[in-house]
């Protein structure tokens, strides 16, 4: 209890305890209950999760898993409130951007001792392990899949505008966007000006700079550098030249995906999970997936995200929780899960599975095979990254798109925030 800080936040938890204590025990010999929280919930996903959890329960008689499903749109605040009130689950689905918060505060169990003895550890890809160990070089999460950005393009609109091939460079991208925008009521690019827009700013900024380092050796952010500003200014100009829909300044995930499949805009950068929604509404021959366009240095930096499973340090059934994660994330369970989730595999050689040999995934594997497409983890390990990405970036990038501030000013504000966060992180690392 000493851990939940605003001491009164413990109150609701204490009251709950009190009430459950008053209830008669459900079964004489209470069986073990594991608590599992999923945060990127959708109804189909929950069904798949229940199926996997059912297997686990069959293998471990007497163990019951209680699943809590949080809607992604409010998951961050709900889970943060739960955790700070001491109501922590045994296993949680953890997206990359939460890792620094919970691992950094020492709330997650290191999975290293388990990974050391697991037969499947050696089959994990290097990238999956790198993602697992993003904070303090310790595996606090076992990823279930990677989310790599690629460029979806509308083949029907491309044909209409007389464009033969998808753009490979930013110069070509701009030309294609201009040709498509010349069609009545159509735009070239489905820009994401609202929540979640940071990926595109980073990808085009890094491609222009020809470098994906976010910090210099002294801990200061590279965002304020002239080359990065050139990249963000390029995207601002694209919007101001009306190559993206005018209301895309407010668009989030649903809007860019809907804008793409409705044919309002012809290109959108998205992760493989968007494939599910797009493939349901567009004919397979009408869209394609290509690599993120390259910058002047001949390189592109598609962002790489991930989500996985973590165990809370406060869990009293850690070994059982690890067993549950094994069932969810061993090659068999992981494939079943990714069939639903649409993320890229964490195991070597998994691209040969029937799921990934589907031609629609070809774009991502081509991107991964290209040495000039450098998958880039965003600096999600920084303290305060969630606020940076979801609030500061949204506000300032909208101001820049609308011409209220210059791209230089926007990059300066980002660099200021990130440099401070980086120094805080380095200071914390020195203390430990």
């Amino acid at each position: 209890m000493a851990k939940c800080l605003p001491r009164l936040a413990c109150l609701p938890f204490a009251v709950c305890l009190l009430f459950t204590a008053c209830l008669p025990p459900a079964a004489a010999n209470a069986d073990t209950t594991l608590k599992l929280v999923e945060v990127l919930t959708s109804p189909e996903r929950t069904d798949t999760l229940k199926g996997l959890v059912g297997d686990f329960e069959k293998q471990n008689p007497g163990v019951h898993v209680e699943i809590t499903s949080l809607a992604w749109s409010s998951a961050f605040e709900k889970f943060a409130t739960m955790a700070s009130a001491g109501d922590t689950p045994d296993v949680v689905e953890l997206p990359d951007r939460w890792l620094s918060l919970y691992a950094g505060n020492g709330m997650l169990q290191s999975l290293e001792p388990y990974l050391a003895h697991w037969s499947e550890t050696s089959r994990l890809t290097e990238r999956a392990l790198q993602a697992a160990r993003a904070v303090d070089a310790t595996a606090y999460v076992l990823p279930y899949g990677l989310y790599l950005r690629a460029m979806f393009y509308n083949k029907a609109l491309f044909r209409q505008a007389g464009i033969a091939a998808p753009p490979a460079t930013m110069v070509e991208f701009l030309k294609v966007a201009q040709k498509i925008s010349a069609l009545p009521g159509k735009s070239g690019y489905c820009l994401r000006g609202g929540p979640g827009g940071l990926n595109a700013w980073i990808m085009f900024g890094a491609a222009m700079a020809g470098n994906n380092a976010f910090f210099k050796s002294d801990g200061s952010s590279t965002f304020a550098d002239a080359d990065w500003i050139k990249g963000t200014a390029w995207l601002v100009n694209l919007y101001q030249d009306r190559l993206a829909p005018q209301d895309s300044v407010n668009w989030g995930f649903n809007e860019v995906v809907a804008g793409f499949y409705s044919g309002t805009c012809a290109m959108v950068d998205q992760d493989p999970d968007a494939l599910i929604a797009i493939a349901q509404r567009m004919k397979a021959e009408d869209f394609g997936v290509t690599s993120i366009p390259k910058g002047p240095a001949g390189k592109a930096y598609p962002t790489l995200g991930y989500a996985g499973w973590s165990i809370f340090k406060s869990s009293t059934h850690k070994d059982l929780a690890w067993k549950l994660i094994q069932v969810l994330d061993d090659p068999r369970g992981n494939l079943r899960w990714n069939e639903r989730v649409g993320a890229l595999p964490i195991y070597q050689g998994a691209e040969k599975a029937p799921l990934y040999s589907d031609s629609r995934f070809k774009g991502w594997f081509a991107e991964l095979a290209d040495n000039d497409e450098v998958p880039t983890f965003m600096p999600t390990d920084l303290p305060g990254f969630a606020y940076f990405a979801d609030s500061l970036v949204v506000r300032t990038s909208q101001q820049a798109l609308l011409g209220q501030i210059s791209p230089e000013e926007m990059n300066r504000q980002w660099a200021g925030y990130l440099t401070k966060a980086r120094n805080k992180q380095l200071e914390r690392a020195r203390h430990e």
Partner: protein, 291 residues
């Protein structure tokens, strides 16, 4: 002595209950404003005095949200009240199928606020909604574009949704008050030669005044705190042009996890609303004593 204390003892349980349920959470919440409370940060919790309020004073986003809160509240309440009053007056006189019309008028109130926000967001969307095309053809806009993406006018999108959604509240309450005015007063006034405007000014308005004061007070406080429509339609954007204090509090508390700063903003909002309520109560008192 004990006899004098007796009545207080009877009320004590109720007073304690109210204090525990209302006052204690309020005071605890206010105390956060003077402390460094960050969720999930083991190093936070210390007393920082007026630090949050100094930060607030220098925070342009706060002043922007405050300005937007005033516009949002004043425009929404004024339009809801004006149109609600007109509707109540129209509905108070008998005509054919009045029951049906009343039912239709009250319908928006039954629509969940999230649903009406989504509906209005679609109406303003140039791809699927008719409004931008109408605005363009009557010359309000140069091209059919999304109002919600225009930083200068975006706030009027949620205001329109709020007015549509909230008119029935005023119409219902004012209609009920209208129907309690004795009919013979109007007849007597008409016989004495009072025209419709005079009857409205000298009979309807004074009878409605108490209801008006209390409904306007309630709605103002309610709307100033009401961020559902804004959150669904624009999420405070573009570029904070539709951010109001209550949505800003939410951002600070749940995106930055800075409960201390969020509480400081909430404390300021509370003080402003209390001052406003006191003003309205005084005004009502003044009007009552004058009569």
């Amino acid at each position: 002595m004990s006899e004098r204390a007796e009545p207080y003892l009877y009320t004590l349980p109720a007073v304690l209950l109210i204090a525990a349920l209302l006052l204690a959470p309020l005071l605890i919440g206010l105390s956060y404003a003077f402390r460094d409370i960050t969720l999930l940060d083991p190093g936070s919790g210390g007393f920082v005095g007026l630090e949050h309020f100094r930060e607030l004073y220098a925070d342009p986003s706060f002043w922007n949200a405050l300005r937007n809160t005033v516009t949002w509240t004043a425009a929404s309440v004024a339009l809801q009240f004006g149109l609600g009053l007109v509707l109540a007056l129209l509905l108070s006189r008998p005509f054919r199928a009045r029951g049906l019309v009343q039912l239709l008028v009250f319908l928006p109130w039954a629509v969940p606020s999230f649903l009406s926000a989504l509906n209005w967001a679609w109406l303003f969307n140039p791809v699927v909604g008719p409004l931008p095309h109408w605005f363009a053809s009557v010359g309000l806009m140069s091209a059919p574009e999304n109002l919600l993406a225009d930083p200068k006018h975006a706030l009027w999108g949620p205001i329109a949704a709020n007015v549509w959604w909230g008119i029935p509240f005023f119409a219902i309450t004012l209609l009920a008050a209208l129907q309690s005015i004795p009919r013979d007063l109007y007849e007597a006034a008409a016989i004495d030669g009072a025209g419709p405007w005079r009857r409205f000014r000298s009979i309807t308005l004074p009878y409605l005044a108490p209801t008006m004061a209390i409904t306007i007070l309630l709605r103002t406080v309610w709307i100033a705190n009401f961020a559902d429509l804004i959150v669904v339609m624009t999420k405070g954007g573009p570029a904070d042009s539709t951010q109001i204090l209550s949505s800003y509090i939410f951002t600070q508390a749940f995106q930055r996890l800075d409960f201390g700063y969020a509480s400081a903003i909430a404390a300021v909002l509370l003080m402003l609303l209390l001052a406003y309520a006191a003003l309205l109560v005084l005004l009502r008192h003044f009007l009552n004593t004058r009569n």
